[in-house]
């Protein structure tokens, strides 16, 4: 079952990594090209730090539960 448990955390990490990259990319793009229609508190650039959080979590879970390491365990 460890195999299953690890693979689910790995998949979650992978998805967060992809989402983090997309959100971070949008945040940086909007920093360089400010949109005309702004959301509330847009000056805080939530996409940048939320994207960074997703990326960090995604990296942790994909590395910690990567299949190669699971097989070795």
């Amino acid at each position: 079952m460890t195999k299953h448990a690890n693979s689910i955390w790995f998949l979650i990490g992978l998805q967060l990594l992809i989402y983090g990259a997309i959100v971070e990319g949008v945040g940086l793009w909007e920093l360089a090209n400010p949109p005309t229609h702004k959301t509330a508190l847009a000056y805080l650039h939530p996409a940048i730090w939320w994207g960074a959080l997703l990326l960090a979590m995604g990296l942790f879970y994909t590395i910690r539960f990567r299949p190669a390491r699971t097989l070795k365990d």
Binding site: M1, H4, A5, S7, I8, L11, I12, Q15, L16, I18, Y19, I22, V23, G25, V26, G27, E30, P35, K38, T39, A40, L41, A42, L44, P46, A47, W50, G51, L54
Partner: protein, 613 residues
């Protein structure tokens, strides 16, 4: 006077609440690829009936616990309770605290050992062992029917929300979500459903959490939010019929007196009633929900929540998939720990909407009445998408929408997997094909999942034709929860309970619940007799109906049991307290024991209730 910017008279009724960008659609598409991919990946691990129906009974406490919570954390829950928080204030938090935490801890610490020790596949399966085929059959047929109808209601609700929020056609949402969910459930059953539920749990949190974070920054913390709520309550005229009626009339909407008469919008106006959880529950008329502490503590906390969290197989099935007894006891405790903080992403956005939105939201009947006159108002249930659009730009909006879709999918998959298990193990096998092989049951599980999804889709189309069907289905589901809890808990804790007592108690309680519901439906004034107060609102009716039906179950079960012969003690081994040797949890340090974390959660639970008293 309020100038009613909220009326948006020029807006088209078909205009969606949010406008998704291409990047948002990419995020949503990736989600669908992942959920289907998980089903395909896990199919190779689903070779036996136990794999399909019980996920091989190999889940860790964390995975079972998160799936247990996620199966309940549907999008209807997110949207509905955020709307309720806007309507009733912080009173809505009781459905997450006293209406969940004690019941989840009871399931983990007291009831799980019996479910687990009996090695049954389902709650009706436990009833079969404890009370025999009559009680089990009654429970299984009611559960299977209601589950499949609820799944259809979920599918329609998702499609309707996607239409309002994003402007997507109903047909598209119904078929895309059903096919995606159908693929991963039919391929790998509960195993795949649990995997996806854990994934969905993470996505729901990460897609929704930005709203309360940014909202609290804008409000200036809890103290600032309380000030904003007080200001808006006066500004919108909540609790003041003259102001609301005048505001509506000034915008060309004739206020439908009959619709407004019993609306909570005309309830109490004192701001503190929206930000205090307990101090306003002394009397029905002192809070916007029209309920008192007896209804909350005994109706919700002691009966409804106990019934839902300990006997609704949709959620209990996830815990039964745990790999050992310690994990099975720990899973609900982990679920309770997270449940306690779900109000951050559900209740807080509703309160933030009440305090920060310059647009007033209304009860659905008022929105419908305005729509008939060509005006667009937004309802309480729209508060979460409105807050999402307020704070989330491209990318983040896609994450938020994905959270809603994930919530819907987990709710639907929960219904379908529970239906397939109860149909196969508690109806098909005992009643139609007792000698069915494991391989045959696995095939039946896949077929019943597929057919269950098609029936759900058909139900969704029925609901599309007549919205009132949705109300009836949801009411029907509530009839069985409280009585079933009485039957199960008496069976587990009292060895004298007999099969006749269990059957007649369950039947009497269910019939009483249906009877009370019909009484109020035909004669709304009957509510004052059921809730024992002329000031009671419909929410109180649910609580007191559950309370009375539970009391009746206990009375009938006890009386009939005392008049009939009980099973010998040796036949009750593994099923009843006092007749069962509970297997040891094993030697674990204190911090790995369920009882330790249950104690920690209890302390935090009490502290939170005192803080928001």
């Amino acid at each position: 006077m309020l100038t009613l910017p909220f009326l948006l008279a020029s807006a088209s009724a078909a205009k969606p609440l949010v406008s998704a960008s291409p990047v948002d659609f990419v995020i949503i598409a990736i989600y669908f690829l992942f959920v289907i991919g998980i089903g395909i990946y896990l199919k190779k691990y689903t070779k036996t009936g136990d794999d399909f129906f019980m996920a091989g009974r190999e889940m860790t406490a964390w995975i079972a616990g998160l799936a247990f919570l996620s199966a309940n954390l549907g999008a209807l829950e997110l949207l509905g309770w955020a709307g309720s928080a806007y309507e009733y204030g912080i009173l809505a938090v009781h459905w997450y605290w006293i209406g969940a935490i004690p019941a989840m801890l009871l399931l983990g610490l007291v009831m799980m050992p019996f479910y687990y020790a009996s090695k049954t596949h389902s709650v009706p399966g436990y009833l079969q062992l404890r009370y025999g085929p009559a009680t089990s059959g009654l429970s299984a047929i009611c559960f299977a029917l209601m589950t499949i109808l609820m799944s259809g209601v979920n599918i329609f609700a998702m499609a309707a929300v996607m239409q309002v929020v994003l402007g997507w056609p109903l047909q598209l949402s119904i078929w895309v979500s059903s096919i995606a969910m159908g693929l991963y459930v039919v391929l790998a059953g509960l195993l795949s459903a649990i995997f996806n539920e854990v994934l969905q749990f993470v996505l729901i949190w990460l897609g929704s959490l930005l709203i309360p974070i940014l909202g609290m920054i804008q409000a200036g913390g809890w103290a600032g939010l309380k000030r904003d709520i007080a200001k808006n309550l006066v500004h919108f005229g909540i609790g003041n019929p003259a102001v609301v009626a005048a505001n509506l009339k000034a915008s060309g909407i004739e206020h439908p007196t009959s619709v407004l008469k019993n609306s909570s919008i005309f309830g109490t106006s004192h701001p503190s009633t929206y930000t205090h959880a307990w101090s306003t529950l002394g009397h029905f008329s002192a809070n916007p929900m029209g309920i008192n502490w007896i209804g909350i503590v005994f109706g919700l906390g002691a009966v409804i929540s106990m019934g839902y969290w300990t006997t609704d197989f949709l959620v209990v099935q996830r815990v039964m998939s745990a790999k050992d007894l310690r994990s099975a006891k720990m899973a609900p405790v982990i679920g309770a720990g997270f449940k306690m903080f779900v109000p951050i992403i559900v209740i807080l956005p509703g309160l933030l909407g009440l305090g920060l939105l310059k647009t007033q939201l209304f009860p659905q009947p008022i929105v419908d009445a305005a729509a008939r006159q060509g005006h667009v108002l937004y309802s309480y249930n729209d508060v979460l998408p409105i807050m999402l659009a307020k704070y989330c730009g491209p990318g983040l909006l896609g994450l938020g929408i994905t959270a809603l879709i994930a919530g819907f999918m987990s709710g639907m998959a929960g219904n379908i997997t529970a239906f397939a298990t109860v149909w196969t193990h508690d109806i098909y096998k005992p009643m139609m094909n007792p000698k069915a092989s494991d391989r045959h049951l696995l095939a039946m599980g896949r077929w019943s999942s597929a057919i269950g999804i098609l029936v759900s889709v058909a139900t969704a189309y029925l609901v599309m034709k007549s919205n009132s069907i949705m109300d009836y289905v949801q009411a029907l589901f509530s009839f069985f929860i409280a009585p079933l809890f009485g039957t199960v808990i008496l069976g587990m804790l009292w060895k004298r309970t007999t099969k006749h007592g269990g059957f007649w108690g369950l039947l009497a309680g269910t019939a009483a619940s249906v009877g009370m519901w019909l009484w109020v439906l035909k004669q709304p004034g009957a509510l004052k007799y059921i809730a024992l107060s002329p000031h009671a609102q419909p929410m109180a009716a649910d609580m007191f109906r559950a309370l009375w039906s539970f009391i009746l179950v206990v009375l009938v079960t006890v009386v009939v049991s005392l008049a009939t012969r009980s099973k010998p003690k040796e036949e009750l081994a593994g099923l009843v307290m006092g007749c069962t040797d509970i297997p040891p949890e094993g030697q674990y340090p204190l911090v790995h024991r369920p009882i330790f974390w249950a104690a920690v959660i209890s302390v935090v639970f009490i502290a939170l209730n005192l803080y928001f008293w």
